[in-house]
Symmetry: C3
Subunit: 251 residues, 3 copies
Amino acid sequence: MITLSSDFGSPYPAAMKGVALQSTDARLVDVAHDFPRQDVRAAAFWLREVLPYFPPAVHLVVVDPDVGTDRAAVVVRAGKHAFVAPDNGVAVPAARRIAEDVEVFELDVDDPASSTFHGRDVFAPAAADVHERGVDTFHQYPGYERTDDYEAVSFPEPELASDEIVGEVLVVDGFGNAVTNVPGRVLDGRFGDEVRVDGEPAPVARSYAHVGAGQRLVTVGSHGNVELAVNRGRGDDAFDVAVGDEVAVSW
Amino acid sequence: MITLSSDFGSPYPAAMKGVALQSTDARLVDVAHDFPRQDVRAAAFWLREVLPYFPPAVHLVVVDPDVGTDRAAVVVRAGKHAFVAPDNGVAVPAARRIAEDVEVFELDVDDPASSTFHGRDVFAPAAADVHERGVDTFHQYPGYERTDDYEAVSFPEPELASDEIVGEVLVVDGFGNAVTNVPGRVLDGRFGDEVRVDGEPAPVARSYAHVGAGQRLVTVGSHGNVELAVNRGRGDDAFDVAVGDEVAVSW
Amino acid sequence: MITLSSDFGSPYPAAMKGVALQSTDARLVDVAHDFPRQDVRAAAFWLREVLPYFPPAVHLVVVDPDVGTDRAAVVVRAGKHAFVAPDNGVAVPAARRIAEDVEVFELDVDDPASSTFHGRDVFAPAAADVHERGVDTFHQYPGYERTDDYEAVSFPEPELASDEIVGEVLVVDGFGNAVTNVPGRVLDGRFGDEVRVDGEPAPVARSYAHVGAGQRLVTVGSHGNVELAVNRGRGDDAFDVAVGDEVAVSW
């Protein structure tokens, strides 16, 4: 199985699929191709939240603002999963969620057909190759060199005090839910109660429909983080927050 | 075969696919993940128009504004098809289009991992389970209880008079075609002629390009209902209608 | 393998998949369903750039503004590939990219269920039929008649002078890269240098990140054509161009 993730929109991902299918019969599964363009951190977050739910697979991941420069191409191995991606750290949080120890191999890339579309010309053929050679054994073939010098995306840590935590909005999903880096456990024991978000009170609820339609709420999202939301509405608008904004939760 | 439908946008559907693939090798087919958010009626309409074209399948359907409340999770069986969905009626019109008699089973849901993403934590594993156990036999296993107490979406009926019919816009598709609940047969014998829509004349045409580019027309859409359209343009704009609006067709 | 391409958005492509799967177990691969609506030339361009990367396949292509009129339905055969499409020329550039000689067969279409959705009622069943009968042999069965009278999309040729070339923006991709019809070879020997675009200087770069974030550049895109771009930004905005606009590149 090969999963595909990118910020390519359409129709570029299809070229990657075509190339991969030239040399593999693997099942192809689209993860997303509408990650915020060239936003390596956002993609890294979502991949960490989604890819660990897959059975063993090769994950083709291309969010690659530095395509055509001297940034390396890598395979990140984590347990029975392998991630084929540019060396900008995008796949590392997902890999580390799957296995404590990850191994990274640099791809020997040989004069690709284009300087602007390595998803098609470098990463798709490499993903098919890793799949065909096997996640356990691909590195025994030429073209893959073990390295300890690789990039990794990291997420900012929230600042915890006894009665306040200051975090950051990491991503906003399509519903308008603003996902923060604040761990959901700070809401333990507060469901049905209120907290303050940037000084304004908001109810803490198990899920969206526990408050009235159009009402604000603070909840624990499916990723385990504190999420600012509105039942049948957009949390980012109601809390007036965007990606990168600081958020103070107090009680 | 398992089809997937939701209002999740991206990348949440991928988590459902990953979970399902943990326990099935079934073919997965995306139907749509961009249904109008939390609009159970719109999704029910589209599913009724699309899913009956599939061969026997398990249909995973998650438009679920009440996720995390006490709404039940159900399997709706219709002939050789099964729909795994929240008990808000979203799958019932499609099921009834496939088979006159449908049977509904309530899922025994046991403390899901999240309160906000039952697509991943409840419905995807259930769809895989129904697929693996078989649409004919899944209910013989624990966890599925037959019920006659279930929700069903219904669509408003148009009001017919001898020279007028008053209907409603049910959905607007991506082309801007406004699909009403008025049965297409009211246009029988009127192709090439005119009707009045909210008092204004509009030609009745077999298809879009039977009128000039940019011209309004009234036609019978692929769902068999009266549709307000513009050749190479948007019918909703030209007729100034939106979902839920009343539309009077007279002749 | 059957690939699917359309301007249908969602959920109409799912109806095509359901219908195809009634009569084939082929792998289905989505190419794109968000081609600019009813823009036959744009779809023809993208298909030419993407489909030749696939292994032998049947390609279902439906961008069909004249659905329901007397335009024919065709199968275009090119090597081991077959394209099932309306006879508006949309598939011909891709076919000719794959094989010098293409053969076209007109489909005998018999009173489809709808006048507005031949993707579902004509082209999807035909694609499944061509797949099941085989790209080499389908035409030996009834319903396919060889014809030399068919439509073909062509792209405008740029005008070359010794120190200027006047081309046209063919498409703008989702990143905002404006893809012209100017062959990339006019930039040979100019990388690291400057050209003038509509009289204004712009650097010629191998790829986007060779200039600073937010800076304009001229590059050769993955299709081999000159592309107007901005590193981490939108080229169409920065160069103030849209599809169909004339672009003069001089040096």
